[in-house]
């Protein structure tokens, strides 16, 4: 409350609120670190990696032969990125499909993105995620 008995705008913010798709894209576009989730025969796998969002897609690079890219197309993946700044946190979840890029035109284009893999090996695969659904939440963190 201020001296007039009005609530500070921050107090009106609910403890958790959904982000709009536009807000979620803003978080995604600024994000570099994310966790990539796959489910293979019921077993969940989670890998941290660096991402880059561009043109409505999300890209990452990974070592070839990695189980993430064993499938040329994985129709059911998810990716989460979160950011904590002081008492406010954002979390954005993308659900969609992942595709291994094999066309040289595509890999050349993605190679020009500022996309750094977690681990450098001589050769790296490029993976493109096509979002089907993007959800995001903004949290006012606990007292």
């Amino acid at each position: 409350m201020n001296i007039k008995g009005e609530k500070h705008p921050e107090d009106r913010e609910p403890r958790v609120r959904d982000l709009t798709e536009e807000e979620s894209w803003q978080i995604l576009s600024a994000a570099r670190l994310a966790r990539f989730v796959t489910v293979d025969e019921g077993e969940i796998d989670i890998t941290p990696l660096n991402i880059f969002a561009a043109d409505g897609r999300i890209y990452f690079r990974t070592a070839p032969g990695n189980k993430l890219t064993k499938l040329q197309l994985n129709p059911n993946v998810a990716l989460e990125t979160d950011k904590i700044e002081g008492a406010v946190a954002h979390s954005v979840v993308v659900r969609g499909s992942a595709r291994l890029l094999t066309d040289p035109d595509e890999t050349d284009r993605v190679a020009s993105l500022p996309l750094s893999p977690w681990v450098h090996t001589d050769k790296l695969d490029f993976v493109e995620i096509t979002p089907e659904r993007i959800t995001g939440r903004r949290f006012r963190l606990g007292d």
Copy 2:
């Protein structure tokens, strides 16, 4: 290489290596922030939350009615925590089952842990994860 042509110990560390279960528990025990993953009818969900590892179990608190706790017992969940320090990163993944704690003796015990929920509400559920498999990796991050 040093002046004698010997490799610096850090150079001998592979780019990625698996952690032992003991090393993974060390990372888990020190971790506060993790991402919790569930799969409900094929749809992956990922939520950041605060955890506390104790006595071979992992605990978190969440708002009641949250879909994470809709099931009293969820037999197929995963949780990941990661830590980046300079050029070294660790990531630990726990796979197991999640159980909503309802016995007052259990909730009293867990309430005494230093476990802060992301979002405070009047009432909070306690969830216990019993690990079935714990894997961890240590990464030497890219050049």
